[in-house]
């Protein structure tokens, strides 16, 4: 990786560190250390700075014990080291609640949902897209409806999916399929149509006919672009995951995040979000590398 790529990650991290560790930057709260004579203060409590200063002034006037405290950020912005600790705890340490799902379990569940949803969608979408792109009549017959259907928001199918498929993983996978499939058919049909027509004509003059035109010319011809489309669509599937996991019984990484947010364990929330990002970005980088290796003739792969 080039230095600039690393810098593009270090820069936001630097901003986060500055906001977290330099006391005069932001820090709108005060964390109480000694409550002094203020009756409702407790050690560790987060108080708005203005309230804290008013109470402190009150106590000074009444000549009672002064409260002490340190500037702090709101609870929803944990410092980097807290998130790092949460990451470590999530994987290495024993959880406080024995029955609650661990982060890696939630994550694995989510990844399974994504993969099944994406596989199912691709099993239908890729062949259908190629056929729509190759045969104009099939395209004209199916694409207008697909075009209409893709505007129906996938989450709207949530209740329906639960009614049909039950409350567990079925409806979640269905949401990802509905969210991905229709875009997939249109994108891949379009990619197929962009194949250089001369290649098909050359193949025909060389004696290629029927199905072999698809298997020997169309498919290898669009494969690098198809691969790139699939990479983009996989990212798409991740965005539907969050919706999908809230349907029926909450599960996976979304359940973990909402649960932790409810207990105000925001460092765990950030840790989970970070891991989603790392998995998504990491898998895309890997797939891009794989693409360069798989398609040595396609020079556009190097640019992505």
């Amino acid at each position: 990786m080039k230095a600039r790529n690393i810098a593009s990650f270090l820069l936001p991290l630097l901003v986060w560190c500055l906001v977290s560790y330099v006391p005069f930057i932001w820090h709108p709260k005060v964390q109480v250390q000694e409550p002094g004579a203020v009756d409702y203060f407790q050690p560790g409590m987060l108080i708005d700075r203005a309230d804290f200063e008013r109470e402190a002034a009150d106590m000074a006037q009444q000549q009672l014990a002064l409260p002490t405290g340190l500037p702090a950020n709101p609870i929803y912005l944990p410092a980097p080291h807290q998130v790092a600790k949460a990451l470590y705890t999530a994987f290495a340490a024993v959880p406080e609640q024995k029955d609650a799902p661990r982060l890696h379990q939630s994550l694995w569940h989510s990844i399974q949902i994504i993969l099944w949803g994406f596989l199912l969608s691709s099993a239908i979408g890729v062949p259908l897209g190629i056929v729509c792109g190759t045969y104009r009549n099939v395209g004209r017959l199916s694409e207008p409806f697909i075009e209409f259907f893709r505007y129906l928001p996938a989450p709207a199918f949530g209740a329906l999916a639960v009614a049909v498929l039950g409350i567990y993983d079925g409806p979640k996978i269905a949401i990802i399929v509905i969210g991905t499939l229709f875009q997939q058919v249109l994108i891949i049909a379009n990619t197929t149509r962009k194949l250089e027509i001369t290649l098909l004509e050359a193949a025909r003059t060389l004696g290629t006919r029927g199905v072999r035109l698809i298997t020997r010319v169309v498919l290898p011809g669009i494969l690098p672009d198809l691969y790139r489309d699939q990479r983009i669509l996989l990212g798409w599937a991740w965005t539907y995951l969050i919706v999908a996991e809230l349907i029926g019984t909450s599960s996976g990484i979304t359940f973990f995040i909402t649960q932790q947010a409810r207990y105000q364990h925001f460092e765990n929330v950030y840790a989970a979000m970070l891991i989603i990002g790392v998995i998504g970005f990491g898998s895309d980088v890997l797939l891009a590398r794989l693409g360069q290796w798989l398609f040595p003739w396609d020079r556009t792969q190097e640019r992505t």
Binding site: T205, G207, D298
Partner: protein, 301 residues
Amino acid sequence: MSDATLPPADELAQRFARIYEREPILEVRGLGKQFATAGGSVQALRDVSFKVHRRELVCVIGPSGCGKSTLIRILAGLETLSSGQVLVDGKPVSGPGRDRGMVFQGYSLFPWLTVKRNVMFGPEMSGHPHNVAEGMARQWLELVGLSDFADAYPHQLSGGMRQRVAIARALVNEPRILLMDEPFGALDAQTRAKMQTHLLDIWKNLDVTVLFITHDLDEAIYLADRILVLKAHPGEVQEIVEVPVPRPRSPAQFSSEAFRATRAHIEALIHPPVVHHTMPDEEAAAPSTMIRFTAVDDNVE
């Protein structure tokens, strides 16, 4: 016209008599093509008839819009004809087939296959086993002088090399006729000259008949036995010119009397002295007075 370089008329007549004795490979009878457009139907080709004999090299030339590309695409079976007949070896053709190889102007090699696999494509399609196809490909790559590049991908080759691969890929199927649609049109002048000589070498040494589309007059005269001159709107055969330049051809003949006479003759056919165009072409569309965008006193001439 009594120049010594001009071949005697009877020698010329004998040469063409020998060509016409051979059986016709391609016969086009009354071929017509109409396109349906928004503004009604357009006649692209009308009543085109000609024959190409075995081992003959015929060039098709004409102004842009004369339908020469449409003609060769119909012959290849990539487009349907509206009227008339196309016979290869006396049998009418419909759709593309292995008996008619085609070389396109550009971008026709399969980018995902190596040079060798590109040439193997035809034999594999006709059901030859892998090793047989590979042997054939090697042989044809040697013929076009690209054995060293068998494992390269098309994008790694120069334009001229790509067209040589395209020729090998078409010839490996042993077509009755090789159709070439401005195959050297996208190449630079130097490479094009080399490719022309190379094509003549191949043609000389193989039992192959060639129909070659071009818009380059010198190219047509250099290569062809006969030149089919088309005129535009609609595309019709204006004349079939027998090229008097003797064979074997060499670039030195470009300045010969026979070459220049033929060139002048065809030039007059394509660009007649009095022009009545019913359709606007590039010349008519050009503005008669040019607007000046530079300083008044900044002259380059």
